[in-house]
Point group: D2
Chain length 363, copies 4
């Protein structure tokens, strides 16, 4: 039986002496104590504790994806852990409402004592971004430049080492690209898929042209947008064209991964694809919740500082808003919807694929 030799006391187990002894106010430090600095400190400490938990789950997930073959039960565990991350993210987003009980004036009572500390210096948050797959080249200008010179040498090294390792994005991409089943009948499937999709695009064209509520200018715009959708769609069947769109950032996933992902999103209810579908959906949720957090965070900063500079000496709000969209990672999972077909237009799955499904028959 599991049993601990020495009895455990709640406060010792949680090391509450450290946890509850780690709130030192800068304002008090300078003989100008501000009641509300405590909230500022604790909100950030809670964020860091949650980041640690998210990294704990994320690293376990990455370890799984570092294997060449991933057994289903490992995948089940992965999905469970990603769902836990999503639950935590929900708290992180709602937590902004707690921070917003700090009025601009309450913040001003101690803000100037924090110079030049900055949220940029949260190593765990940067680790989170890098582990998910945010690469330097995707960082926006401002960030690219000062991403590192705000950090201690030690912290900088941690992040640079991490950047040299494969991210979850890259590992998931590899895993998608080697999905079994993608070879067999692929050709037939994609041929059928292409024809059906062409019909859809054609029909969308008609919708636009026959929509009297649109002005001519709007129609032209719509048709232009549709045309670019048609081109990126065509690129799915033309490796060279795809590579170009991959390089210019229209697609982030490589060709094989993109095709596998589309295959999975077309057959979410096929038992064989259900776990992969759950995985893709979970990663979409994580990306979405992180993006919403960035957006809410940017608004909160505007509400607290207006156009003032942040304690780190950067106009927080403007910068933060820029990163909201540019720092998305699994955006292909969102855009994939552009290429999906209604269930009843899908080619049937061949029998030998069906054979893999369900276990009742097996008896």
């Amino acid at each position: 039986m599991k049993r601990n030799k020495t009895p455990v006391y709640y406060g010792d187990y949680l090391q509450l002496d450290k946890i509850l002894g780690a709130q030192k106010m800068q304002s008090a430090n300078y003989g100008d104590p501000a009641h509300d600095e405590m909230l500022f400190v604790i909100v950030h400490q809670v964020y860091e504790l949650w980041f640690k938990q998210i990294l704990h789950e994320l690293n376990a997930v990455i370890t799984v994806f570092n294997q060449d073959e991933i057994p289903d039960n490992a995948l089940i565990e992965v999905v469970h852990r990603l769902h836990r991350i999503i639950q935590i993210q929900q708290l992180l987003n709602d937590q902004i409402s707690v921070m917003e009980t700090l009025t601009p004036q309450q913040f001003l009572a101690f803000r100037d004592y924090l110079v030049p500390a900055s949220g940029f210096q949260s190593i765990q948050f940067k680790r989170l971004e890098i582990s998910l797959g945010l690469k330097r080249e995707f960082r926006i200008d401002f960030d690219k430049q000062s991403f590192y010179n705000r950090l201690t040498a030690e912290d900088r090294q941690i992040l640079e080492e991490l950047e040299s390792k494969p991210s979850l994005f890259e590992l998931v991409e590899k895993w998608l690209a080697r999905m079994p089943l993608m070879e067999q009948d692929e050709f037939a499937f994609w041929q059928h898929f292409k024809n059906a999709s062409d019909d859809c695009l054609e029909s969308d064209k008609n919708i636009i042209e026959n929509n009297e509520t649109l002005s001519d200018k709007e129609k032209r715009q719509e048709l232009k947008d549709l045309e670019s959708t048609r081109q990126s769609f065509a690129a799915l069947f033309d490796k060279n064209a795809y590579r170009k769109l991959n390089e210019d950032g229209t697609f982030r996933l490589n060709h094989e991964a993109m095709m596998a992902m589309l295959f999975i999103k077309q057959y979410p209810e096929e038992p064989i694809f259900n776990l992969p579908f759950q995985l893709i959906t979970a990663l979409t949720e994580i990306d979405e919740k992180l993006t919403i957090w960035r957006y809410r965070h940017a608004m909160m900063v505007q509400r607290m500082l207006g156009t003032k500079i942040g304690t780190g000496g950067s106009s927080g709000h403007q910068y933060l808003k820029k990163t909201t969209d540019s720092n998305r990672i699994f955006v292909d999972f969102f855009n994939a919807a552009s290429f999906l077909l209604p269930k009843d237009m899908l080619p049937p799955l061949p029998e030998q694929v069906k054979d893999y499904f369900g276990f009742y028959k097996k008896k």
Copy 2:
């Protein structure tokens, strides 16, 4: 100008070395590392950080109520801080969903290493309960007995000292009891109030008697309930009867405080009562959210342990459910609704009271 002499670094300011260095797993300790113990540790540490913040606000509020006269701007600050507590409580309640991503089996992987640690030993939570006004005599049997023998001498002393100080409940009661304006026209007001209320009770009686959808047994039950409402209502105008109901716990507030509270709840839109009304409402919210937390927590424990004993060696679920209702503090603020009148049945406020309202006239 405020300015710090030495530059601040994010990680140092938040003492992340302590915060992020305070997760030691018992399972690892015994060479049987359990991935999910991290979640268990961090969820509890986050709870403790929030408890510290709530106590920080609560103590500031108690300091204000310790004064004999409370200026309005102090009351405004109090309401602001109580609203902050409510926002935090919302997170505490939602956080249970994160804990529920820990399956019973994942918990069993390390639970036995935690004996006999227990949530009972959270001193901050006990401080929170005591500061709000939960007194020993209100604790349920089980709790009353082992409330203290699970604690270290040091922790026990902290709580015993706290229990000797006035709680927020007692201070708010005092403040209500000395509300200005309660003397003048009180008689006229309450006379009118009593008559109107008697009509209401009479009309409720008719509703019951003429409700064919009720069985005779139900009608008898309803009329019995109504009668006890009528009696506690009558007690409002009979100090001796009131004292009895106060002693048997039907009412927790003393007579003066109860009457003031009813007065305030009757005229929430009178500027002079608006701040007190906001205060009462905020305390009601805090009590409600704390009660919901207890209830959700009890269900979570049942889901995790079933009828198994907790690590502290007590059948958690059963006990926790008992405390859910018994540990409520401002329950009079809820039950007050029993005695309220519709606006259009209220006696008019006398002119000299009206004079206090608004500042436009003043010009």
Copy 3:
């Protein structure tokens, strides 16, 4: 291609003339218009719309479980729909905060015009309860009696017919009871399981006996609780003993279903059990969220009415609180935790079972 012949207009499609034309105020009706009655009406109408959606999903789920054999892709769809119900329930619970912006006094301005209408009369909510598996015999006294005489003959008939049909609880019970794999190696498994569990119970006994923080009275209580856990556990291996506990309501699931459920909860990460595990977890969530809704709803009613009777002429709060716990349906899924083993104490799954798992090997 799918295409509608006649163009659709947003307002016509959603029949907004009906939806937005269905708010008639009783207070206005009687020449005493109350601004806040609108909130009361709309909050209830929104509840009814969500109930319709939940019933729409629930009936689709029940249709699936009415089949003798349920293919995996049907099960995947079922889980998806249950998760949708959970998302909606989250809104239903949070919606109480909107209702709570209606103060007791605002409610009193129109409450008396609603007599004897009552939430009891929400046929959709009763359908929801009955479809899930709430049977008359489980209803508490008050409810049992007046469950029907508050309804029109027509509504009564709808519910009586529904009660004659199998509920989701009964169908899931059947499906669990016929789970494949339960025969093979069952004996060996349960033998091993029993031994391991006996050790656990023994060790829990030690925890209690060696816990100095417990008073003697408490220890006796704890050991009594443990003994009853031990007995219900023993009943798992004694069909007669089980039937007794099944009849007295300790267990609601029949023996076969209970054993299958425990098997599934022991091996959640085995691909073959993952879908069933997701299903069980989803039903647990639904039961939990419904229970929390009942609890929050009861508190809201107390806050609005105190001990006053509701418009239906029944003391809402008291009654509602009674139903909170008594009306739970899948409570066995919660209590199951009493009997689970840590992963490392589990008997290994035999090879021929393993063969069913994963599809990579298949190539």
Copy 4:
């Protein structure tokens, strides 16, 4: 006593025949029934019911602000109603998670039957925008053009009439501009304010210049931003400069309103300013929650359609993202933080102002 003559039945009162009889599926209409269209219909109907409630509260608020003099108790009621709107908005935002349980593929099963219906055609949502203060000139290009030609003549007229009436923004602006107390001591106050603020801006300049972590390019950018903050700040004291920034949209509030708003935000805890402060904060919340809703809605559409066109024949996602920021209304309330001073740098409020505060002294 209030009493209804004829007894009320739950279903009749809520007109559930209309509410629950208003779901007609286009897919069924065309003999191609799609299970998930029900969710799509009901989610939108719930939105419309909440919009009706929000408009109900908003119109009551606008009626109050249409008066020349607003007594405090009216203001208290206004704040209460705005808080109710905020609670409802929280549901509207969370409701997106329910919509997101509709997979792209499930949506495609009926999307083409809805052409050319579009959310643009929600008259209530447009009324909400216009009532709050969104004017044509603030609408983005696309919207400006087709804002009306998607609507029936009747709907168009409703909106055009509404646009001719004063919006909440305009009425609040008027109310702020005529705030009492703004005349007396204004000069002294603003003089002191200006000096203190100049110091703050100067100190911010130092922060930037001494921040080694910034690259030269960044420093230049920061100083440029600071300079424009300084200019808009200077404009507060130069009516001509202000008018220019007002015309170019940097400020939306007129000069008097802006100054009053800053005055209020500087002294939130002065009883005389507390209600106005609560009002400003509530409007900030409403604007923020509406903006977050737009943002989440845009992401949801991208997830559902990718770059596909919406049923209305417009590339939903791109358009919706553009409106997220451009359609903000009370953005000055956010940016105000740029100009606030720490409490301890504020000029003291003159005695005769203090005299208005508190009522205890009055005895």
